[in-house]
């Protein structure tokens, strides 16, 4: 019963969102007198710079571990390149925004590889424990650290069930202009928020040669990610924690 109610509510929400999008883009298309379907959708999706992130959107990943190839770490390298995450020869403390994890079934010996990054929870424990409000969730579901108010206490690192966060121990130089990083603050996967805001996909998803990482708006019923989530089985890591993750996996 409650599920049905939830579903109708969700549908209504999605319908509202679509109407808004269609209204806005129809006006634009009318003004520009452009009929191209491709262009139409791209206009409907782009977020103007001055517009805040919308809570109608929930960005996320659908990761198919069956496509994940042995010894491939292109997603990790892409992330490191994107944010200039250089190591200091100390693997215990070097920044890891994304890592590859290999799982082995002890009974059968079957191994599964998967990329693991911040899972962008809807109910993030890191936000719950942050004493300064530096750890926060954007309206569109992206969990971030506001390094301007982070005091480097690392409670969030303790709270995160996925060990997704890193602490910067060293003085950092040569940061990217879209990816500020500094000593004494905690950092993690930002879901490439600088790219997402500019209507591009995250670096790891772009780099994956097997297209194992699918990025999209989970709330948009018309998006590929939502359609695949609806039609194919996928699961959350540590789903028992009921954190409602923004990253879902297939084949584990």
């Amino acid at each position: 019963m409650s599920n049905e109610q939830d579903n109708t509510q969700n549908k209504q929400r999605i319908d509202r969102y679509r109407r808004k999008l269609l209204g806005g883009s129809a006006a634009l298309a009318g003004a520009a007198a452009l009929g191209s379907g491709v262009f139409f959708t791209s206009i409907a999706r782009a977020k103007p710079d001055a517009e805040p992130a919308s809570s109608e959107v929930r960005w996320g990943f659908l990761i198919d571990t069956n496509k994940c190839v042995d010894n491939c770490d292109k997603c990790v390298t892409a992330c490191n390149d994107e944010f200039n995450l250089t190591g200091f020869g100390r693997p215990e403390t070097d920044a890891q925004w994304i890592r590859t994890v290999t799982l082995r079934d002890k009974k059968t010996g079957h191994t599964t590889r998967l990329p693991l990054m911040c899972q962008h929870c809807a109910y993030p424990p890191c936000v719950d424990v942050c004493p300064t409000g530096a750890s926060f969730k954007r309206p569109d579901g992206i969990v971030l650290v506001d390094k301007h108010i982070c005091i480097g206490c690392r409670y969030c690192m303790m709270a995160c069930p996925y060990k997704a966060r890193s602490f910067v121990h060293e003085t950092i130089e040569n940061q990217k202009e879209y990816g500020p990083r500094g000593k004494g603050t905690v950092e993690s996967c930002t879901l490439c928020v600088h790219r997402v805001d500019k209507d591009r996909i995250p670096a790891c998803a772009e780099a994956c040669p097997e297209k194992a990482i699918l990025f999209g708006n989970m709330n948009d019923a018309g998006s590929e990610i939502a359609q695949r989530m609806a039609s194919e089985a996928s699961t959350e890591i540590r789903g028992d924690l009921r954190l409602n993750l923004g990253v879902r996996y297939q084949g584990i």
């Binding site: 791209s42 710079d49 001055a50 805040p52 926060f136 603050t185």
Partner: protein, 149 residues
């Protein structure tokens, strides 16, 4: 109750010699201090503010920017980090992109160089900037590609 007389800075009764001496020594001291501070100021070079390469006018009126740039930056910073508003007008990046200073090899100088736009005034005013502990201080960076499917 307090007497009305004591409310005045200068007493209304004739001053004794000793009081006069104290008062004049204070005034002389202040004058000497002022003199030295003026001569000291003359010794420090006035900031040579790099012109904007894009145009003659800053994003706001110059006087307003001098007084309020930090407020604009803080406001923009919160809007960008928390809400994803990415307008360029009041961004930190815009400051050093417009007022870029090129050094050797025609490369933009970082904040380590005293000629850097932000440092010109901040050094003069002895106000420490923390922005560049995390942010880059030079324009540029790799251009990324890849459209959303």
């Amino acid at each position: 109750m307090q007497s009305t007389q004591s409310l005045y800075c200068f007493s209304l009764r004739p001053l004794r010699l000793r009081e006069l001496c104290v008062r004049y020594s204070v005034i002389t001291g202040a004058l000497v201090l002022m003199f030295f501070s003026f001569t000291a100021a003359a010794g420090v070079p006035v900031p040579d503010i790099p012109d904007a390469i894009k145009g003659e006018q800053c994003v706001e009126e110059t006087g307003f920017m001098r007084r309020n740039h930090m407020k604009l930056l803080s406001h923009q910073r919160d809007d960008t980090v928390h809400l994803g508003i990415r307008t360029q007008k009041h961004s930190l990046k815009n400051c050093f992109t417009c007022h870029v200073v090129t050094g050797a090899n025609n490369q933009p100088v970082t904040v380590k160089d005293p000629r850097h736009f932000c440092r010109e005034c901040h050094d003069y005013a002895a106000v420490q900037i923390d922005c560049f502990q995390c942010h880059t201080s030079v324009p540029g960076g790799r251009k990324t590609t890849g459209a959303r499917p």
